[in-house]
Structure formats: C-alpha cells, structure tokens
C-alpha cells in the first residue's frame, strides 16, 4: 500500500497540474478573495453587508467556499488521467488489486486537497487581515472565528477533491467527468434550488452542506427572495461537516469499488 501511495505521489508531482493547482489556490485565496475584501462587500452589485458585520464576513467566506469546483475538477482530472493516457492497463499490471490502487490514489488526493485547502485558507486569511488593517475595518467576527471558518473551508476543499475523484471513477471519460462535476456545482445545484419542493433538498446537497459550514445563505436567500419561496434553512455547521464527509466517503467507495470487475480494454 505504501508503495502504491508513493507511486501515486510520483505520478502527480511529475505533472504540471500539481503546481498549477497550488497557484490557483493562492490566486483564489490571496487574489480573488483579497480583491473582494479590498473592494468591500458593501460596494458589490447588489450591495452586501460590509466586512464589519458578521453577515458580510460570512458572505464573502461563503463565496470563497464556492470555488470548491476547482479542487473537484482537479480530482476528476487526476482520476480520469489514467484512462485518457491509457496507463490504467499498465497500472493494473503492476498492481492487480485495483481497489488498493484507487485507495492509494484517494489517500494521495486527500493530502493534495488538504495542501490546496491550506494554501487557499492561508492566503485568504493573510489577505483578509491585511486588508482589514489597511482599511481600518474592524472585522464583524473575532479573528479566531474567522480562522475557524477558513479552516472549515480548507477541509471542504479536501471533500470536493474526493467528490470529483469519485465522479471521475464513475464516468471515466475525462471531459465528460469535468462537465459533470463543474456543471453540477455551477448549474445543477442552483437550478435545483429554483424548483419548488426540490429546493427543500438543498441543505442536504453538497453545496448546501458546504454553505452550512460557514452559515452562508446569501445565494439561497437571493433565489428564495426572487421566487418568493420560503427561506432555506441550512443544517447546523457540524451536521453539514458530517454530511460532506459522508459524500466524500460515498464518492471514495464508488471510486474504489467500481473498477474492480470492469474489463480494461
């Protein structure tokens, strides 16, 4: 098993994707999030509460949580890469126990997802505190709470990377897997939220569970207000975290069990 994990690390670190992913984390955390903080949510269109309010702070943290499609796409890309490059057969020749190969991949990706999440959260924290100090804004939440929320976002990134990997293991085709992952996160969930009746499911979908982590209801509230449907009640943060973990476990189980009997042709 250790050999397989070492092999997967070598496989991943030898590509450019790895560096690109961490760059993306820094760009989103330090760059995009920093710019949002610098502009101030009160200057958004439509305006949102400012950084000096809890709602405003939670809102921009929630938007940061929406970038989870990036690690999800990376997970889908990484797990489908063996099929795209026809290396799956070679890999299974070296390691006929396919479940262990996939388990090693997931272990590797979890570490990568954590690295991604830490870079994202770390650069976001630095940007946020620097902007607050520069603009002389007192943040609407204590620093420890902000850091805890960022920590939850970091963990959510791990979960999304594994979710993406699970979808990739299910779909196999790289482009199709990417479309499914980003399409669902960007289009699928918001559309579901607009369907009366179905929108009550939102809190238990991955997006709703992620929003629960930071108690971010801005998008859900905006859609509810637009449609005149009832307000969406997110799960408590702990339940959201548990649910996300369950999604990751389910995705991982699919990724590990599915290829066991498939013919590699």
């Amino acid at each position: 098993m250790n050999l397989l994990i070492r092999a997967e690390f070598r496989r991943l670190l030898a590509t450019r994707m790895w560096g690109g992913l961490l760059l993306a984390a820094a760009a989103l955390g330090g760059g995009m999030f920093g710019a949002m903080a610098l502009a101030g949510p009160e200057n958004f269109d439509p305006p949102m509460p400012g950084l000096d309010t809890e709602a405003g702070l939670r809102a921009i943290l929630g938007i940061l949580g929406y970038t989870a499609f990036v690690p999800a796409a990376a997970g889908a890309l990484a797990v489908t890469s063996e099929h795209r490059h026809h290396t799956a057969a070679v890999t299974f020749l070296f390691a006929p126990r396919r479940g262990r190969v996939l388990a090693a991949k997931l272990a590797t990706y979890a570490v990568v997802g954590l690295a991604y999440g830490l870079v994202l959260a770390g650069t976001a924290a630095v940007a946020l505190f620097a902007v607050a100090a520069a603009r002389g804004v007192a943040l609407g939440l204590p620093a420890t709470t902000v850091l805890a929320l960022l920590g939850r976002i970091a963990v959510a990134m791990v979960v999304y990377l594994l979710l993406g990997a699970g979808v990739g293991a299910l779909v196999h085709h790289q482009i199709a897997a990417l479309c499914v992952v980003t399409g669902y996160l960007y289009v699928g969930e918001p559309v579901l939220m607009m369907i009366p009746g179905v929108n009550t499911l939102y809190p238990i979908l991955p997006g709703g569970a992620t929003a629960a982590l930071t108690d971010f209801t801005y998008v859900a509230d905006a859609i509810s207000a637009e449609l005149g449907s009832g307000a969406v009640h997110l799960l408590p943060p702990a339940a959201g975290a548990l649910l996300l973990t369950a999604y990751a476990v389910a995705a991982s189980a699919i990724a590990v069990l599915l290829p066991l009997r498939r013919d590699v042709t």
């Binding site: 050999l3 070679v90 070296f94 006929p96």
Partner: protein, 306 residues
Amino acid sequence: MTGDHLAIEVSRLTKRFGDVTAVRDLSFTVRPGVITGFLGPNGAGKTTTMRMMTGLVSPTGGTATIGGRTYGQLARPSRTVGAVFDANAFHSGHTARDHLRVYAAMGGYPDSRVTDLLDMLGLAEAAHRRTRGFSTGMRQRLNLATALLGDPRVLLLDEPGNGLDPEGVSWLRGFLRQFADEGRTVLISSHALGEIQQLVDDVVVIRRGELVAAGPCSQLAGPPAVLVTSPDAAALAAVLTAGPANGGPAPHVEAAGPDRLRVRGLDAPGLADLAAAHHVRVHELVVETTSLEELFLHLTRDKAVS
C-alpha cells in the same frame, strides 16, 4: 522467480462481450525458452486473450495461468510477467524517467533500475524529455522498459512491430532471442506475418477466437520441399517415384512448371546424387522453406473449409 522456467497455459478460455464471442474454448501452451508468435487476422481475439492472461479482462469461462498461477495469484506480478499492450501508454506530460519511476515505486524497484533500463534501451538522452514528443520507436522502447522493470521471466508483447523501423525490428529480434535463450518465455502477437517470420520458433494461430494450429513452426510447415529444374524432368520424376533401391518410401513429386518438379521427402544433396547416378541433368536446385505467411494462409484456409 529468477531462474524459473514458466509456461503459459491457456485452458478452455472463453470471452463473450454481450452477443459477441471474442474467444471461444481456446487451449494452448506457450513454452519457456523459445519465442512464440501469436498469430491471427485483426479481430481474431489475440489482444483479448493476452489481456485475460494478465487479469485485465476477466474470462467468461476457462483459465489462463503463468507457471501454474493466474495473474491475480502472483505475489509480485511485475517480477514474473512484463506486458506491453498499448503503444502509447504514458502521461504526455511525464518524462521517460518520471514514467518509469512511477512504476518502479509501484513494483518496489530502486531508481537505479530505472537508470539501467534507460541506458539499456537507448533512452538515456531522452530521459528528461516529456513523452508527448517521443517518436514511435522511442515509445515502444519506453513501453518495453516499463515491462522489464521487474526483470520478469515472461514477456507478452501485443503487436510490438507496429510502427517500428527496420532498425528497431532488428534490435527487438536480437533482444527477444537473448531473452528466450535465458530460459524465459516470450509471446508476441502479430497480424503482420512477415514481420515476425524470422523471429518465432513456435506459433499459435487463432481465427475468430478459435484455435487453428499450435506448435513449432518446423512441425507445422512439414518438411521443406526441393524445387528442381531439369530439361529431363520427366526422366527424373520416373527415377524419383520408383523409390530408393533399399525399398524405402518414395519421395512425393509434383510438377511445378514445364521443366520443374517440387520434391518432398528427399533433401537437396540426396536429390543431386540420385540425379547424377542416373545421368539426369540438373540445372537448378532450390530448397523451399514455407513462409509463415503461406503456412498461415494454408492453416486458416483449411480451417475455413472444414
């Protein structure tokens, strides 16, 4: 497994993909110490059979074992079997060295083995280049390097000659001969018969997923024929069909043109001596070895008729 002589045993192997039967009740043995050609037209089921030998495709029925074990039962399969299926099985962004290091880690082999193989296969200079820029020949050699990481006792190559230049084919021939001479087992599939004509000792011929013939080339081809050109062809034929003086079996003679006979059952020196003893003029003697292509066409035609 070093030093082991491992045979590949295919027994009543069957594979159905939906309604299509790709391999049907196939049984044959691949001997260690020789090079075996796995022949058949495109779509005959060669690749599917080789993938079943290595556990990539699970059989609908029957078994394929290597040294008595199925692929899944091998403790460290890459030490026992090396296989090349896809001409293009690497991440395009990996260098040759990156690619080999991934599988070296997977099999538990040291990086020095990677370096050795890059040297041995003439890839040392390309070691740090990304594989997307590799020529077909370089890709083939990198595939072979991957298969050889564990210094396996058995080598399976699926259509290795595809896209190889004559120099590459000649190199591969020498390499495989040495590999087999060490008592190892080599099975190479091909639909291009001329390509492996000079290379294989045994052949397994399949067609539409069924066995047509298996065995040493020399046995399948039968004894070589001698083509003799003589202005006295009729007289020579009479002498030959009369049989030897000691009463042994007469050679088989057939006309192969106005002044030519094709003779089986008597070698060229014997034929020349016989002609001289009977004062029959001989202008030309040619020993005809059956080409693999002829043998193959002959075997598959027979099968089609029966």
